[in-house]
């Protein structure tokens, strides 16, 4: 039964079915399965399957995102149980992400957040129009490895430098890495402001993030 349940968990992620994934997580707990086992042996392999198929062009971004969503919903069920026994799942890294102050464009940031989550990162999405001090506070709170800062306008991308300065003033640099991106952002700009990485698109951002945490 347990192996069937594990297989079903894996499949729920491959199918991108968040409701089914959550349902199976509840069932796993009811049957006394260790929540960490459920994640590591059930859901994570499903995400890995999807990632491999995406890499070779057999699956598309919407399928990756639905798979990530299924994973998130399952983890949301399982993590409170893990907290009771002080268990922590292995994550690729911890990321705080947001769009800079004065900019309300969301899509690029959300895409990167989802892709990082699908790749096993723990992602804390602050949304849009985020003041530098909120990036700092969240990074401190969660022990972030990476702060990812998005901007869509040439007039707001200067906010990325402001976030880097705020992190430095808070004593979080160089330990916390900064990854920047957005339509007007270039590698040269990233270098100019002292960012540690630049993602030209969501797929590239994940590659860079993995490099920044040594994964």
């Amino acid at each position: 039964m347990s192996q069937e349940l594990i297989a079903a968990m894996r499949q729920s992620v491959v199918d991108g079915d968040p409701d089914r994934a959550a349902e199976l997580a509840v069932q796993a707990l009811a049957e006394g399965m260790d929540p960490l086992v459920a994640i590591e042996e059930g859901y994570v392999p499903g995400l890995r399957d999807v990632g491999e198929q995406f890499s070779c062009g057999e699956m598309y971004l919407p399928e990756m995102m639905l798979a990530a969503r299924a994973m998130q919903k399952a983890v949301a069920v399982l993590e409170p149980e893990m907290a009771k026994t002080a268990q922590q799942r292995q994550v690729t890294g911890r990321v705080v992400i947001g769009t800079v102050k004065g900019d309300i464009h969301e899509i690029g940031k959300s895409l990167v957040a989802m892709m990082l989550s699908a790749d096993g990162f723990e992602v804390h999405d602050l949304g849009v129009d985020v003041a530098p001090e909120r990036f700092v506070a969240k990074a401190q709170e969660v022990g972030a490895d990476i702060v990812a800062v998005s901007a869509l306008l040439t007039t707001t991308m200067t906010g990325q430098r402001t976030v880097i300065d705020a992190l430095a003033d808070a004593g979080l640099r160089p330990g916390v890495k900064v990854l920047v991106g957005g339509a007007p952002v270039t590698r040269a700009w990233a270098d100019q402001i002292g960012a540690d990485g630049y993602g030209e698109d969501a797929v590239g951002a994940v590659r860079v993030a993995r490099g920044l945490v040594g994964a």
Binding site: P62, T156, A183, P184
Partner: protein, 477 residues
């Protein structure tokens, strides 16, 4: 017979309208900022102050569509370039606000600067089909807090056609007003002539940027026309079907029309759009697709059905460099809105999803636009086109080259003569150095930029504009 194609049957147009009304009434639209929600609430919209979402009833849309003018004249700094809307033929704007520029001399892709705005608009000034200037790239050499003001002034200085641009913040309003009065002479002239307008893009899906909308509402006191340009991308910031994405774009447009008309009934508006599709592999924006062309045409049809001057994005391409991909994508995205009867298509000069300005592309795009216009003009079926007497005279065999009617046709608009596409025979073409549409465009750009500045602002006006910008830079730091 003119070829026109609305891309939507009447029933489908009505369905989309109803869907948009349903979106506005049931889903609602988020309005950030201070000014819009009180206006909407006062007029009967259901407003949730906590979420900033207003649910707008169909009756308010009807009121707004009744007060929005069905025609007005796009004025210009030089009245010779005044342009009536609607106009019966499709005219063009230069594309706007690219972050990057391909340097004309070095080919380097870099951030745009004020000089690039000036150069591009000097080229656009010479394009017959061009009626609307826009700052085509960013002025990255201007301070970020006043950058759009610098861009606005650079545009107005370099081109005496109608000018459209944007500002982002309420505190930029007084400086823009002062600049427009400096250019046009008096506040009354700014209002009456409509020589400058604003472009307004809601943030898809279904969200209005607070500061920008507040600023544009403030500028209603100068009756600055607004081009409303929703931009949902089917599959990412818009739903994943063309029909639904069109409905969302239309809903965003209608919500904008409602707010602008409730605040200032009768304020001139242009219904426009700049949709796209998502790249399902990367999540990126695609603007050079047949789907984009279709949505542009359908939304043009919606705007026309509301009795509004109508426009759409077109001439868009995802190509990374000028060339064959750019040309075919620009044709695919321009012909549909032209066939649907767009008054203005936006716009010339950019590639990479409107993020990279290329000077020679302005002229290549004008060539594409002329061809689209010719296609839509179709077959002239007037009786004098039968030429039966010529057919009798020439008879079986022979040729028509020396007929009087052929001599007339050689100089008529029935046969389009391209400005840039080389037509020499092969060896002659080789001897000419193998010119291409792009090399000919580059030659023409060089000639324009080497020539005198057309229609400059008077020195006193230019000086006053510099003072206004300097004050803005100091005071908005």
């Amino acid at each position: 017979m003119r070829f026109e194609h609305p891309f939507l049957a009447e029933d489908d147009r009505l369905r989309i309208h109803r869907e948009s009304l349903r979106i506005l009434a049931e889903v609602g639209v988020r309005f950030l900022g201070q000014r819009a929600l009180p206006i909407l609430e006062r007029h009967g919209a259901r407003v949730d102050r906590e979420t900033g979402i207003a649910r707008i009833p169909g009756e308010l849309v009807d009121v707004a569509l009744r007060t929005a003018p069905s025609s007005f004249v796009l004025g210009a700094r030089n009245p010779a370039f005044d342009h009536p809307l609607p106009s019966g033929v499709t005219s063009y704007a230069i594309d706007g606000t690219a972050s990057f520029m391909t340097d004309f001399e070095t080919g380097e892709r870099r951030y745009g600067v004020k000089r690039d705005i000036e150069d591009a608009l000097r080229v656009f000034q010479q394009v017959d089909l061009g009626v609307m200037a826009w700052a085509p790239t960013c002025a990255s050499d201007a301070p970020s807090q006043t950058r759009p003001l610098h861009e606005f002034v650079a545009m107005a200085a370099a081109c005496s056609k109608h000018g459209q641009h944007e500002i982002y913040r309420v505190d930029q309003v007084p400086y823009l007003e002062a600049a427009l009065v400096a250019i046009m002479g008096t506040e009354a002239d700014v209002r009456a002539r409509h020589a400058y307008s604003l472009i307004y893009c809601p943030v898809a899906p279904l969200t209005h940027d607070g500061e920008m909308l507040d600023a544009y509402l403030d500028l209603g006191r100068l009756d600055l026309p607004v081009m409303i340009m929703p931009m949902p991308v089917a599959g990412s910031t818009g739903p994943a079907s063309l029909f639904a994405n069109i409905a969302v774009a239309n809903a965003e447009a209608l919500s904008s029309i409602v707010v602008f008309q409730l605040a200032h009934p009768g304020r001139p508006l242009i219904y426009s759009s700049a949709t796209g599709t998502v790249d399902f592999r990367t999540g990126g924006y695609l603007g050079g697709t047949p789907e984009m062309g279709i949505m542009s045409a359908a939304l043009t049809t919606m705007g026309r059905s509301y009795g509004l001057p109508s426009s759409s994005a077109g001439c868009t391409s995802d190509a990374r460099e000028p060339g064959a991909q750019a040309v075919f994508e620009k044709l695919v995205t321009t012909l549909p809105p032209v066939a649907a009867g767009a008054d203005i298509v936006i716009g010339f000069g950019e590639i990479e999803g409107d993020q990279n300005l290329v000077l020679e592309q302005i002229l290549v795009d004008a060539e594409i636009a002329r061809a689209c216009g010719r296609l839509v003009d179709g077959v002239d079926v007037a009786p004098d086109r039968e030429l039966f007497d010529d057919i009798v005279e020439v008879g079986p065999g022979g040729n028509f080259l020396a007929q009087r009617s052929t001599r007339i046709a050689a100089r008529s608009s029935e046969f389009l003569v391209p400005s840039l596409s080389p037509r020499a025979a092969h060896e002659a073409w080789m001897e000419l150095g193998r010119p291409s549409i792009y090399s000919n465009a580059r030659e023409r750009v060089s000639a324009i930029l080497a020539g005198p500045f057309a229609d400059p602002l008077p020195d006193a006006t230019a000086g006053e504009l510099e003072r206004i910008l300097a004050a803005a830079d100091r005071e908005l730091a």
